[in-house]
Amino acid sequence: MGILFLYVDLHSANIVVKNPPTVALSEIEPTMNMAQVYIQGKATFVKYYEDTRFLGMFVSDDAGNSIFIRAYDAETLRLIEMEKQRLAEGSSEPKFPAVGDIVTIRGQLRVRPDFKMMILQYAEGLEIERPLENRVTIAQMVSNPENFGEYQRLEIGWDENNPVKIISSTDRGWATMLTLYEMASESSTTLIVPKTLTRFGRTLEAKVGDTIRVKGAFQLYFTEPQLWLASWDDLR
């Protein structure tokens, strides 16, 4: 009877089994260790670790509080498979995170005095909202980088009268760096194509000389503006 009750409660009634609470990153403290909670914030670092096959991610809020998110290999693999399937189906709802995404995560907290971490135990516990992009020119990015927020989504090459071309491609191992050149302003910037994207069933087809239109997350590499490619459907 008890098990039956728990089963029904879990799936519908939610009398005893309730959804975990949503906590702000600033509220997380050591007494919450092992707690199941929801958190929300902007992904400011996303890495797929090739050696362990883990996913690592930092999520930050506007006040600068941050937490490290870890998904172990099995769930990371599931996220990769889900993203692969999503791309194959042409869905617009991303399944694998990228820098700049607004993420909502259900997971288990691990809190130490000087470190906050959350384990993403189920791939379905990750919801991703990829913000809408702003259309800009490379010249605007290069001449006034202070006008853009870190990891703000931008789109370049959208103006047919001001095309953007790939003028060089460098393989850095963890990513391919494409130099993008804007014809009208003669300005250039770098597009980072993380190697992780090749796990989603596609490879980089664009080559030197191609005209491209791309959306990406803005970042400053010291003083040099760059864009991070989040997904293959952001590159045309």
Binding site: D114, A139, S143, I167, S168, T179, M183, S185
Partner: protein, 482 residues
């Protein structure tokens, strides 16, 4: 107690004086009573715990030799002691450098905001000694790293997790430093104060490499990480400024390189004055010297790389094509503001500083950054050649303007890269001439020319495939006309 009343301490039954116990076979003479055993345990526990606490509280830090780190020590927390031999490379949220002890070299990542480290005077310099506590990472490729994420003190030993002992300064000269490098390397990984003049700049994506030169022409490179801009005001260093600075003596491969840990360690103490000369008067006496020249730009040529569509170098001719050309690497050109880049065109009048050298018997002037040339807008168009058939080898390397209709094109394939293009231009007199456009220029044209277009082309007369052709220097040299 009578024989009948004797109790076996093991099974608790009467032994009736028998040895061993008739019930359990235990020898009652060899047994401790429970009370004695408990007391003994308590005493041992107290002594053991006391010894353990005493040991921990009096133990000194025992640094792990870097050479002893192996695959099994992945994620181990250890103390490391050594000398800083490279860096620091500074990010907003971390700094990194290398530490060497007698047994090896280890990468160090300090995962703390660099601004905080600066505030607490914890930005290391090459030559400094460090003692640090952190977590080791030993990667499958064999590379090792230690990660430090706290400036706290160890609660037992009282030692700070990241301790810096500053290196003593050694006053030297560029000449002595370079001599020492090739002799004994006694100054390697020491902190030195030197004086030199900035004669060149090589911009990297994460750093700038300045060349410092003494009065005898001896040079040394100084590495300045771009991340310094996160924690302090960047000094606006210019070419030919003489600076006095303190930096660590590091190595890039086998090459001597100074590593600057802070702009605070640099002071501008003077400047070299370049010779102001007319560009047409450059001669052997000026070879190797810095000159200030001015003139109207009559032609700009960008030269591409063979591996991609990037521009490698940019050449400028001032006043006449017979004058020594001025050249700069594209990485230097990219340091200019967008406005300045737009102004640095044919027709503009420019004043700049460069170093005279000779290449294939011809003088040339290398524009060495960091500097901002002064520019004034203007217009210049080379001589219009009405009859393109008159363009022959006597005009080789001259700049010309031609006008006509594109009647033919052919592409020259460049492997996986976009092609170079050769066009045939028919002028108003019905004569044909060739235009050669390398892919670096053609792919940058907003509206590339095709057969049937009427065009006006400014270019340099070049020899190509046994014939003569006109090659534009930049995309804007080719203009479609109605």
């Amino acid at each position: 107690m009578s024989e009948d009343e004797k109790i076996c301490p093991a099974c608790g039954k009467s032994t009736a004086g028998y040895v061993p116990c008739p019930h359990c076979g235990a020898d009652p003479r060899l047994r401790l009573s429970i009370k004695v055993a408990v007391i003994l345990c308590v005493v041992i526990l107290v002594l053991g715990s006391g010894f353990f606490v005493l040991h921990l509280s009096t133990a000194e830090v025992q640094p792990t030799p870097i050479g002893s780190i192996d695959r099994w020590m992945d994620y181990a927390s250890v103390w490391i002691e050594g000398t800083v031999i490279s860096g620091p490379q500074i990010d907003k949220a971390s700094i990194s450098f290398e530490v060497q002890d007698e047994s090896g070299v280890l990468n160090v990542e300090i995962y703390l905001p660099s601004e905080r480290l600066k505030r607490e005077n914890k930005i290391p310099s090459v030559g400094d000694s460090v003692l640090l506590f952190g977590q080791l990472r030993v990667y499958p490729d064999g590379s090792t790293e230690i990660r430090v994420s706290s400036l706290d003190k160890d609660p037992l030993t009282g030692e700070e997790y990241f301790q810096l002992t500053r290196a003593q300064l050694v006053e030297t000269s560029i000449g002595d430093l370079v001599s020492d490098w090739y002799a004994s390397q006694s100054l390697k990984y020491k902190r030195v104060t030197i004086e030199g003049t900035i004669t060149n700049l090589w911009p990297l994506s994460s750093a700038k490499l300045y060349t410092l030169e003494d009065n005898n022409g001896v040079t040394v490179e100084m590495y300045v990480h771009n991340g310094l801009g996160y924690i302090e005001n960047v000094l606006d260093l210019r070419v030919l400024q003489t600076i006095r600075g303190t930096a660590g003596v590091s190595a890039y491969g086998t090459k001597l390189q100074l590593a600057l840990p802070s702009y605070d360690d640099i002071e501008v103490v003077g400047a070299w004055a370049p010779n102001e000369v007319g560009i047409e008067n450059i001669n052997d006496n000026l070879n190797g010297k810095f000159v200030k020249v001015d003139g109207q730009i009559v032609f700009v040529e960008m030269v591409g790389k063979s591996s991609d569509l990037e521009v490698d170098k940019r050449y400028l001719w001032l006043d006449d094509n017979d004058n020594p050309r001025v050249w700069m690497y594209e990485s230097i050109y990219k340091l200019f503001s967008e406005n300045l880049r737009k102004q640095l065109r044919r027709g503009a009048t420019v004043e700049l500083v460069g170093r005279v050298s000779k290449s294939a018997g011809q003088f040339q002037i290398e524009f060495t950054g960091p500097q901002v040339p002064s520019l004034e807008n203007g217009v210049y168009e080379p001589l219009l050649i009405e009859n393109v058939a008159t363009i022959n080898s006597s005009l080789l390397n001259d700049f010309v303007t031609i006008h006509g209709r594109i009647v033919e094109n052919s592409e020259v394939r460049r492997g996986t890269l976009p092609s170079d293009w050769e066009f045939v231009l028919r002028d108003n007199l019905g004569e044909n001439g060739k235009i050669w456009i390398p892919n670096t220029i053609y792919e940058r044209m907003l509206d590339p020319i095709v057969v049937g277009d009427n065009v006006r082309v400014v270019g340099k007369v070049i020899q190509r495939g046994g014939g003569i052709a006109v090659q534009p220097g930049v995309p804007s040299d080719v203009v479609k006309v109605s």
